[in-house]
């Protein structure tokens, strides 16, 4: 499965900084998922659940505060004020 570099950044450090297969969050206009090869894209993210699928196909869920998701060609960054793995 194709992977991409995902960085989740909060003021208290980066709780996630490695390769991922998929990221699901609640965007301001509805739920969305980011996979490898996504076009460059910026949106605001609402507070709620967030799901990350790792290269070994395990699924990790977390609760996030609002933030901003930036998808760039080389990396995807999720900036949020609050982030906690479930």
């Amino acid at each position: 499965m194709n992977t991409y570099k995902l960085i989740i950044s909060t003021p208290d450090g980066n709780p996630f900084d490695s390769e991922a297969v998929m990221l699901c969050v609640r965007g301001i206009e509805g739920e969305l998922a980011v996979m490898a090869g996504h076009v460059p894209f910026i949106t605001a993210v609402k507070a709620g659940d967030c799901k990350v699928i790792l290269p070994d196909e395990t699924e990790k869920t977390a609760t996030i505060g609002g933030g901003i998701l930036t998808v760039q060609n080389d990396k995807t960054t999720l900036l949020c004020s609050d982030f906690k793995w479930n």
Binding site: P11, V39, F41, I42, T77, S81
Partner: protein, 267 residues
């Protein structure tokens, strides 16, 4: 023994207790340095990440329409002043206050007990200033800025250069400046740039505030360690000098006593 030796002994004792105090404060500062440095690094990382998003947004299109990008042409200034919670940190607090002095008419939002005492506000600790506090402050400031209540926002902070040097600095954060170095990417914005910028600005501001508070705290701790180191050295030197003087006085008294006894026995 004469009154002279007694007063010397008292002085040695008092300098010795000062030495203990400086040692203890130096140790406390050293134990906090590592943690403060790690917190500073994470704060900087987040700041850099938010900065790159804001750069992308400001350079992507014409944002002159956004209230956060109106140009500063004089007007009311607001300053967030970040100082320490305690004194005895060399020139750390004084340097910050000196930097503020140039902006006499600015409205000041102090962070850190020393700054709060100086500018007469409710006490906010700089050591226990969390991201949530920063976010609340940032949101409040953003809505005030958007409403035109003030025209410029700066943060007076201390730059941590190394353990030995920290310099005060004023960072101007609002209005946002267009960064011309960022290459514009043909990114899709959802729903549109303006809405995302409005959401991103409080996030950006709180990221910068957190990073600055943490950097200032790391500077404070480092400054205190250096100050306590040199104060300890001075105290030790003072004790050495006083001890020498005391020994001389003591020996003088003994010599005098012997001379008196010998003189008495000779008669």
């Amino acid at each position: 023994m004469s009154a002279n030796t007694k007063s010397l002994k008292l002085r040695i004792k008092s300098v010795d207790s000062t030495l203990h105090l400086t040692k203890a404060m130096g140790l406390v500062a050293s134990s906090k340095i590592r943690k403060a440095n790690i917190a500073m690094q994470t704060g900087r990382q987040y700041e850099a990440a938010v900065q790159s998003v804001v750069d992308l947004l400001t350079s992507a299109l014409d944002y002159r329409s956004s209230p956060f990008m109106r140009e500063y042409q004089g007007g009311k200034t607001k300053l967030i002043v970040i100082a320490g919670d305690r004194g005895l940190a060399g020139g750390y607090n004084a340097n910050v206050f000196r930097a503020v002095r140039d902006f006499g008419d600015a409205e000041i939002i102090p962070i850190g007990k020393r700054a709060c005492e100086r500018y007469g506000a409710d006490i906010i600790s700089s050591e226990k200033f969390y991201a949530a506090d920063a976010f609340k402050l940032a949101q409040q400031l953003c809505s005030q800025f958007a409403a035109g209540e003030f025209d410029r926002l700066g943060i007076v902070t201390t730059n941590y250069i190394s353990m030995m040097t920290q310099t005060p600095e004023i960072k101007w954060v609002l209005p946002l400046k267009k960064n011309n170095d960022t290459k514009t990417t043909a990114a899709i914005f959802e729903p549109d740039e303006r809405v995302i910028l409005d959401i991103a600005v409080p996030e950006y501001l709180s990221g910068i505030i957190v990073a600055c508070v943490r950097e200032s705290f790391a500077s404070e701790v480092a400054a205190r360690r250096m100050a306590m180191d040199s104060a300890g050295k001075n105290a030790q030197q003072m004790i050495d000098n006083l001890q020498l003087e005391y020994n001389r006085a003591r020996q003088g008294a003994i010599t005098q006593e012997i001379t008196e006894i010998v003189a008495g026995a000779g008669n």
